[in-house]
C-alpha cells in the first residue's frame, strides 16, 4: 500500500492528460478519486501503525542501481507518518479548492496531481537519492501553476520562489555528495547510513561543514530568516490550493529533512550550529511577526505569520532535546493544517470578491456565518489557544528549549502577543463591525463540497488538540530513535 502512495496521483495525472479538456466532470472525478485514494491509504496506514515499535514500519526496498547503492526504499516512523497524515489531509482539502471552475481546469488539475505525488514520495522514501529526487520534483509544477493561475506580481513571485528553493536544494545536494564520498561505502540507503554513522561518527569538522550545508539548504524552504523573502511573495501570488499545499506541507519538508539528514546523521555538526540556528529562528519569529502587523493584504499577513511560526519549529530543532523536537514535529502538523485552512478561507473569499485587504471587509459574522466561524477558529488555533493542537506543540517546544535558549524562548512567548495583535485585528475587521455593503452579494459556504475542506482541517486540529497523545505516542519514540 505504502509503495502506491506517490504513484496513485502520478497515475491520475497521466489519466488527466488523456481526457479532453471539455469533459470537466470526468477531470474533477479523476482528481478527487486519486487524491481520496491516497488519503484513504494514509488513514489505513495511520490506523495500523504500531506506536512505540522501534525502527521503520511498512518497510520495503526495491533494488534500483546497485552499483551506486540506490534502492527504492520506503518506510514510516512516527515522524513521517505524522507528516504523511498532514499531507493527506491538506491535499484532500486542497483538491476541493482546485476543482472549482477556472480557466484551463485540465492543466491545473494535471499540475496539482503532479505536485502532490512527489510530496508523498518525500515523506515515504528512505533512500537519500530518492528523497532528493522527489524533493526537487515538487518544483516542476510550481512555476507554471503560480505563473498561470496566480495573482498580484505572479511572475516575480513564481521566479523568486523557484530560484530560491532550487538554490537551497543544490546546496543540500552538495552536502549529500560530500557525505557519500566521506562514508566511502557507496550507499544511499538511509537506514544503513544511519546505522554506520551511529557506530562510527564522522569527524566533527566534517560534520560541521555538511550539517551547515543541510541547515542552510533546507533552511531556505523552511523560510529560515533571512532566507525567507520568497515565501510571503510566493504565497500571495500562488492560487489557493497551491498556497495551501506550499505553506501547509511543502514548507515542512525543510525541517523534516533537517531532522533526517542533519540531526540524525551528524548531531555533532548540528550542535556546532545550534546557537546560530536558534538565534536566526528567534529573529525570524519576531521580525516576521512585526512584518505581519504591517501587512494590508490578508495573504501577505498569513505568509509572514507562517514565516514567524516556522521560527518556533526551527527553534525546537536547534535545541535538540526529545521534547523540543517532538514539539516541532507536532507544530509542523498543526501549523500545516492551520495555514492551509487560512489560505483556503482567504481563497474562498477572494474568488468571489477579488479583494483580500485586511480592511476591505466587515460584518462577515452576519452575512457569512460559516466562513466567519472558521476564520475565528483558525485564528485562535494560530494563536495557540488550548484546545487546538498548536497549543500542545508550542508548549512542548518552549519546555524543551528552555534549558538551552531561555532568552529566545522568552522572545518566542512574547511573539505570541504579536500574533494576537495582527490576528485579532484581522478577525475584528473581517468578521465583526459594520457590514460593508459592497459585499452584500457574497455567498457563504452552503453545500457540503464547500464546507468539507474546512470541516476536515478544523476537525483534525480539534481532534489532536484534545488528544495530543494520538500524535505524540508516534512522534516521541521516533524522535528518541533519531537523537543519539
Amino acid at each position: 500500500m505504502i509503495l502506491a502512495l506517490p504513484w496513485i496521483p502520478f497515475a491520475g495525472a497521466l489519466m488527466i492528460l488523456g481526457v479532453p479538456a471539455h469533459r470537466e466532470t470526468l477531470l474533477r472525478a479523476i482528481a478527487l478519486i486519486s487524491t481520496g485514494l491516497s488519503f484513504a491509504i494514509t488513514i489505513a496506514l495511520f490506523m495500523t501503525f504500531q506506536a512505540g515499535k522501534p525502527g521503520y514500519q511498512f518497510y520495503h526496498s526495491i533494488e534500483w542501481l546497485p552499483s551506486f547503492g540506490i534502492q527504492y526504499q520506503v518506510g514510516l516512523d512516527g515522524i513521517n507518518m505524522t507528516l504523511c497524515l498532514l499531507h493527506a489531509l491538506v491535499s484532500l482539502a486542497g483538491v476541493f479548492m482546485a476543482i472549482k471552475p477556472k480557466d484551463r481546469l485540465k492543466d491545473y488539475l494535471f499540475f496539482y496531481l503532479l505536485l502532490i505525488a512527489p510530496i508523498y514520495g518525500v515523506f515515504t522514501s528512505l533512500n537519500i537519492f530518492f528523497l532528493y529526487v522527489f524533493y526537487e520534483m515538487t518544483l516542476i509544477p510550481l512555476y507554471p501553476m503560480i505563473g498561470m493561475w496566480g495573482s498580484k506580481n505572479k511572475e516575480y513571485g513564481a521566479m523568486k520562489l523557484t530560484i530560491y528553493i532550487t538554490a537551497g536544494a543544490v546546496l543540500s545536494l552538495f552536502g549529500i555528495m560530500l557525505l557519500y564520498r566521506e562514508m566511502g561505502s557507496a550507499t544511499f540507503d538511509f537506514v544503513r547510513v544511519q546505522g554506520i554513522l551511529r557506530q562510527t561518527p564522522l569527524a566533527p569538522d566534517f560534520q560541521k561543514v555538511v550539517a551547515g550545508l543541510f541547515l542552510l539548504g533546507f533552511g531556505v524552504i523552511a523560510s529560515l530568516w533571512p532566507l525567507h523573502s520568497w515565501s510571503p511573495i510566493g504565497y500571495a501570488a500562488a492560487p489557493t490550493s497551491v498556497s495551501m499545499l506550499h505553506a501547509g506541507v511543502l514548507k515542512k519538508m525543510g525541517p523534516y529533512l533537517m531532522i533526517r539528514f542533519a540531526i540524525a546523521l551528524m548531531p555533532e555538526g548540528v550542535k556546532a550550529w545550534s546557537g546560530i540556528l536558534a538565534a536566526l529562528a528567534g529573529i525570524g519569529v519576531l521580525y516576521a511577526g512585526f512584518a505581519a502587523i504591517r501587512q494590508k493584504d490578508l495573504k501577505f499577513m498569513v505568509g509572514f505569520s507562517s514565516v514567524s511560526h516556522m521560527g518556533y519549529i526551527l527553534l525546537g530543532l536547534a535545541a535538540m532535546t526529545q521534547t523540543s523536537i517532538a514539539g516541532a514535529v507536532m507544530l509542523m502538523f498543526s501549523h500545516g493544517i492551520m495555514a492551509a485552512c487560512f489560505f483556503a478561507l482567504i481563497g474562498f473569499i477572494y474568488e468571489q470578491a477579488h479583494a483580500r485587504g485586511v480592511k476591505d471587509f466587515g460584518g462577515f459574522g452576519k452575512s457569512m456565518p460559516f466562513i466567519a466561524i472558521c476564520f475565528v477558529m483558525t485564528s485562535l488555533a494560530s494563536l495557540g489557544l488550548p484546545g487546538f493542537s498548536n497549543f500542545a506543540a508550542e508548549l512542548l517546544i518552549f519546555i524543551g528549549s528552555w534549558k538551552s535558549f531561555p532568552l529566545i524562548v522568552g522572545f518566542g512567548v512574547f511573539a505570541i502577543l504579536i500574533t494576537a495583535i495582527y490576528l485579532l485585528r484581522a478577525v475584528q475587521s473581517v468578521c465583526y463591525g459594520p457590514a460593508n455593503p459592497q459585499w452584500k452579494d457574497l455567498k457563504d459556504a452552503v453545500t457540503l463540497t464547500d464546507k468539507l475542506p474546512f470541516l476536515l482541517l478544523l476537525g483534525a486540529l480539534f481532534l489532536f488538540g484534545f488528544w495530543p497523545q494520538g500524535l505524540l505516542r508516534l512522534i516521541l519514540p521516533a524522535v528518541a530513535g533519531v537523537l543519539p
Binding site: W64, L65, S67, D107, Y132, V133, F134, E136, M137, L139, I140, Y143, P144, G147, M148, K154, E155, M159, T162, I163, T166, A167, V170, L171, L173, F174, M177, L178, Y180, R181
Partner: protein
C-alpha cells in the same frame, strides 16, 4: 583485413551514392516537392543502424590499425545515427515551406554523418584530422545554407574563419607530435610516451591539438563563435552542431586523453577543471540576458560543455561514464528542444522570446515538449539531464574536485532562471499571435518518443548507465 568492421561506413557511402545518382539523373527544371528527400534519407539511417547492429560486440582494427572498432566507437556511432535520424526529420519539416532547394542539404548532412563515423573510429591522428575536416567543411556549408539570409552568411563566415584557425592549430599540433615521436598512430604515440618521450614539442603538440578540439566542443577560450553561429544558422544545422559536433569533440577528447596523451596526465585535472570552471561561468552567465532563443541556446550549450569538461577532469572510468551519460541526456533534451524551436521559428517567422509567447495556447503539445526538455537541460529530476549532472558532479566530488561540483550546482540554479524565462513566455505571457500551429502526426510521434526517452533515461537509469560503462571500459 576485416571489411565487416567497415560495414556501417560502407552502407552510409552507398546511401550517399544513391542520392548523388538520383540528383544527377533528375531532369533539369523538374521540380521535386520539398521534403520528399527526408523519407529516403530516414530510410538510409535505418539501414545504417541495422548495419551498425551487425557490428555490435565486435572489436578490431582495420587499415593498418588506423581504424578501430571498440565499444566506445560503437557507442558514438549509435549516438550519431540516432541523432542524425532526428535531424533529418527536423530538416524535412524545416524545408517544407521554404524557397531553398533541400536536396544538397540532405546530401551534406549525410557527408557529415560519415565524417562523424570516422572520427569515432579514428586511431591515427591523420585519419582523425581528415575526418574532422570532413565534418567541419560540411558544417560550413550547412551553416551558410540559407543563402538569402544575411545572418546565415555572417554566421558561416565567422564559423569558417575561426574553424580554419582551429584546424590549423590541430594540424600544427599533429606535426609537432610527429617530429617528437615519429608516428601519428595513437597506439604508436602511447608506446613512445610510455618509453619516456617528452619535451616542449610533445606538450606543445598536445596543447595545440586540444585547442583545436576546444573549438569543436565550444570550450572557453575557443567559444566566441558559438552564440553568433547558433543565432544565424538554419535550425537543423544548429541542432546538429549542438549534438553531433559537440559529441564528436568529446569522443576524440576521451580517446586522446585517456589512451594516447600520457604526458598530459599529471596536468589533466588542473587543466580541465580550470577550463570547465571558465566555460561554466561564461555560458551560464552569458545566457542570462539573451532575448533570442537560439542565441540563448548557444550560450547554454557552452554551459553544458562546461559540465562535460568536469567529467573529463574528474577521472577515468567514473568520469568517462558520467560524460557519456550526460551526452545521452543532453542529446535527447536538445534534439527535442531544437525540433520545437524549428517548428515555432518557421511558423512565427523568428526566434525571439516574443515569438514563443503564448505557445501553450497555440500548441499545448509543442509547449509541453519544450517545457520538459528545458527542465531536463536545467537538471530537474526525474529527467535525464538531472541524472547526467548527478553522475558528473558525484564523480567530481569523489575525485576531490568539490569546489568544481559546488560551482556546477550553483549554476543549476542560475540556468533555471533563463530556461524558465522561456517557460514564462510560453505559458504565462499573453500570446502575440493566436493561430494554432499544426503539428504532423509523424512529428508528434517522434517528439513523444524523445520525451519518453528523457523521462526513461532519468528514472530507469540502469540500461543507459550500463551502456555508458561498457563504452567507457574499452579504454
Amino acid at each position: 583485413m576485416n571489411l565487416s568492421l567497415f560495414l556501417p561506413e560502407l552502407t552510409a557511402v552507398g546511401v550517399i551514392l544513391i542520392f548523388l545518382v538520383r540528383e544527377a539523373l533528375r531532369k533539369n527544371g523538374s521540380d521535386v516537392a520539398q521534403g520528399s528527400y527526408s523519407l529516403p534519407a530516414l530510410c538510409g539511417t535505418v539501414l545504417v543502424f541495422l548495419a551498425l547492429l551487425c557490428t555490435a560486440g565486435t572489436h578490431g582494427a582495420a587499415f593498418g590499425n588506423t581504424f578501430i572498432l571498440d565499444p566506445l566507437a560503437f557507442f558514438f556511432k549509435i549516438f550519431f545515427t540516432l541523432s542524425a535520424f532526428v535531424i533529418l526529420a527536423m530538416s524535412g519539416e524545416f524545408f517544407r515551406n521554404r524557397p531553398e532547394k533541400s536536396a544538397e542539404f540532405f546530401l551534406i548532412l549525410w557527408c557529415t554523418l560519415i565524417g562523424l563515423f570516422f572520427l569515432a573510429s579514428a586511431n591515427d591522428l591523420l585519419l582523425l584530422f581528415v575526418a574532422l575536416e570532413v565534418v567541419t567543411l560540411s558544417f560550413y556549408i550547412l551553416t551558410a545554407y540559407l543563402k538569402h539570409d544575411l545572418l546565415s552568411i555572417e554566421a558561416s563566415v565567422k564559423y569558417l574563419i575561426l574553424g580554419s584557425l582551429a584546424s590549423a592549430f590541430t594540424v600544427y599540433g599533429i606535426s609537432m607530435l610527429y617530429v617528437a615521436t615519429g608516428t601519428t598512430s595513437l597506439s604508436g604515440l602511447n608506446q613512445a610516451f610510455a618509453a619516456g618521450a617528452t619535451g616542449p614539442l610533445v606538450l606543445g603538440g598536445i596543447l595545440f591539438i586540444l585547442s583545436g578540439l576546444g573549438f569543436k566542443v565550444a570550450s572557453v577560450p575557443f567559444q566566441l563563435w558559438t552564440p553568433d553561429v547558433y543565432e544565424g544558422a538554419p535550425t537543423p544545422t544548429v541542432a546538429f552542431l549542438a549534438v553531433g559536433s559537440k559529441a564528436a569533440g568529446f569522443a576524440i577528447l576521451i580517446r586522446l586523453i585517456f589512451s594516447a596523451f600520457l604526458p598530459l596526465e599529471p596536468h589533466r585535472v588542473m587543466l580541465f577543471s580550470v577550463l570547465a570552471a571558465m566555460t561554466l561561468c561564461y555560458g551560464n552567465l552569458g545566457a542570462l540576458l539573451q532575448t533570442n532563443v537560439k542565441r540563448l541556446f548557444g550560450y547554454s550549450s557552452i554551459g553544458h560543455a562546461g559540465y562535460l569538461l568536469i567529467g573529463l577532469a574528474a577521472g577515468k572510468a567514473e568520469g568517462i561514464t558520467a560524460t557519456l551519460y550526460y551526452l545521452i541526456a543532453f542529446a535527447l533534451s536538445n534534439l527535442a528542444a531544437f525540433f520545437v524551436i524549428s517548428i515555432v521559428g518557421e511558423s512565427s517567422g523568428g526566434h525571439q522570446l516574443d515569438h514563443f509567447k503564448g505557445l501553450a495556447r497555440r500548441s499545448p503539445f509543442l509547449a509541453g515538449v519544450f517545457f520538459i526538455s528545458l527542465l531536463s537541460l536545467a537538471g530537474v529530476p526525474p529527467l535525464a539531464g538531472f541524472f547526467g549532472k548527478f553522475l558528473i558532479l558525484l564523480a567530481a566530488v569523489r575525485g576531490s574536485l568539490g569546489w568544481l561540483a559546488l560551482l556546477g550546482l550553483i549554476f543549476v540554479a542560475v540556468s533555471l532562471y533563463f530556461y524558465l524565462s522561456i517557460v514564462r513566455a510560453m505559458y504565462i505571457d499573453a500570446p502575440a499571435r493566436t493561430e494554432k500551429i499544426p503539428v504532423a502526426l509523424s512529428v508528434k510521434l517522434l517528439l513523444t518518443a524523445l520525451v519518453a526517452g528523457i523521462i526513461v533515461a532519468g528514472l530507469w537509469q540502469a540500461p543507459f548507465l550500463h551502456w555508458a560503462q561498457v563504452a567507457a571500459s574499452s579504454l
